[in-house]
């Protein structure tokens, strides 16, 4: 099991790198979907021997949302907008990759020094979860298009979810469902907002939303 887990964690790192390094919006939407799928597999692998129906169902539900519904919603938004790539990001793609590699190094280094918590077997899990959160935050500030910012938000949410798993936090089903519902509604409302932004402005560059200031 350990080998599988480590493979998954490494794949998680790779999805993050692709997310930061790619300019094509459809590819990025797909990458976030893959990330959701990987995260859905994780709890199944972690609790392989003691798996009960409850976490399995929850994992299935969250995978369905993150790998199925969100990508579908975002893909529709991208198609409506008619924009295929982010041409001119705030931070260039090579610089972004370099920064991300730096973040990965720092989180791995810090990960060794964190107080041990939870029952997770893979040492990589906690630092990679934090890495994913940071990548999400980085995307939100370093990209102009609203779609990429929503993807950043989703990556951050994925990272937080992975972190909860790394700490073996067992949220009650109801709370877990509530969180999923909120994230779903969040992406839904953001999707509507993107549609409205593109209709109102003919673009979805959020840095040009700058009328309101002091």
């Amino acid at each position: 099991m350990q080998a599988w887990l480590d493979t998954l964690v490494v794949l998680l790192i790779l999805t993050n790198l692709r997310l930061v390094g790619s300019s094509r919006l459809f590819a990025c939407v797909r990458t976030v979907a893959v990330q959701g799928l990987l995260l859905g597999l994780l709890p199944v692998l972690v609790q392989w021997n003691t798996l009960t129906w409850r976490p399995a169902l929850l994992a299935a539900g969250s995978t369905f949302l993150k790998a199925g519904v969100f990508p579908w919603l975002l893909r529709r938004a991208v198609r409506d907008v008619g924009l295929r790539r982010e041409v001119d990001p705030v931070v260039g793609y090579s610089t972004s990759l370099l920064i991300t590699m730096g973040l990965l190094g720092v989180t791995l280094y810090l990960g060794q020094r964190l107080p041990p918590a939870g029952l997770f077997e893979s040492q990589l899990m906690t630092p990679v979860a934090i890495f994913t959160i940071l990548v999400g935050l980085f995307l939100i500030v370093a990209r102009r298009t609203a779609v990429m910012q929503v993807l950043g938000y989703l990556a951050m949410e994925n990272g937080i979810y992975a972190f909860g798993m790394a700490l073996a936090v067992e949220e009650p089903v109801l709370v877990e469902l509530g969180i999923l519902l909120d994230v779903f509604m969040g992406v839904f409302v953001m999707g509507i907002a993107i549609f409205n932004i593109s209709r109102e402005f003919d673009h979805i560059d959020t840095d040009r939303l700058s009328v309101l200031k002091d």
Partner: protein, 504 residues
Amino acid sequence: MIWALLLVPALSGLVAFFLRSDGLRRTLLVLATAAHSALVITAWLTAPDCSAMGGWLALDAAGILFLGITSALFLAGALYAIGYLSEEGQHHRTDIEEGFLFKNYPEATFTGCLLLFLSTMTLVAVAQHVGLLWVGVEATTLTTAPLIYFHRHHRSLEAAWKYLLICSVGIGLALLGNFFLAAATAKFQAGHPLHLVFPELVEHARDLDPTWLRAGFLMVLVGYGTKMGLAPLHTWLPDAHSEAPSVVSALLSGALLNCAFLAILRMHGVLVAAGLGAFSQDLLVMFGLVSMTLAAFFIVGQLDFKRMLAYSSVEHVGILALGVGLGGVAGVGSMLHAVNHSLTKGALFLAAGNILAAYRTKSTREVRGVVSVLPVTGVLWVAGFLAITGTPPFGVFQSELMILKGAVDAGRLWVAALYLLLLGVVFVGMARIVIRMAYGHPAGLKGLKETGGWSATTGGRREARWSIVPPMLLGAAVLGLGLYVPPVLQDLIEAAAAALGAKG
């Protein structure tokens, strides 16, 4: 009881989405909020100490206090909204700043979201489980985003987008904080796991891991602090408050910020019980002073009167955090201040809405002579300004004095001096703007001509009853609280402050 509190607004909100008739929908809005208020008052006076779902939802003193504020403000807002909505209509309208045409969001969506907003805030107030609290706070963000985008044009869209993204990210960090808190209970997992319910956490606080607990509080403070509008995390707040309809601004300022504050306070209570009170108090004092300073800078010379009120909210949120951070009398003062600030700010935003409707501008330079054009609103505007800046005999004066006393009692004279200085700066800054707006000669103003609101011969116009009664009631309540705090409320505030560790 709790279920009724949650479900009455939630179900009527869902119904409102599908009601075709405007009249029926508006009646439903008022009936649902009135029923909610009645339920809150019953819960408060009879103190049934009810809980549901095995203690995950419970009405404690703090919950009732913040729920009471929310409900009172919502009732005033609902009454105002009826007149406001019939005035707005569904036809195309000209934008007041740039002159383009735009259409409002459908009224059914507006009313539905308003009621769902009330329901989600009720959830925040009664949630005792860390996770449910998070769910509630995030849900308030999602239900208010369409409200901010009621006037469908590019500025309100910009405000709604900023609000949605900044608050969602912030609240995401609070979820991380919840996980840290869960990690702090790792010790219990072997034997019998600890439920992440606040009373239980407070009870076992001493056995929690202090490092994780500190990290958790930090994340929760930053996360919910974004929602509460603590500087430097407040960047969404002035935009959202200035672009949203005035009713929504009143509710955001008066009710929503308090709910986020309650979420931080519950966590603070756990830290105080764990003996880490000094850590969280220092952070709160720091954030409080930073917020007050920043707000003072932006209030002086502000050109948009709704933004001025928004920055005033940032200032008062800072005062709330400062009061709890100082502890003792200041903590109790802070609870009282939450009540006073909400009522005053609600009245001010509703009055600002009236001014905006008559003058068709948000610029402080193009509004003159409110007192002669809109006699009642003008008086409310000046009285509200005096109240919010802490002039006696209004309630805000008393609560701000208690916070000052707390600072002096704690021997933190520098904090007290800075606090007084900043209050003074805000007073002068707001006085310059408000007094000029209220007095002077209104002739020849561009916006007034368009609405035909004032003429030299007939003077001011008659104000609609719906537009002046709700802010007058709120204003009267603040005045009343300044003269006499009823013992029932006093007890409630004391109990809430004690339970949340604000006295610590």
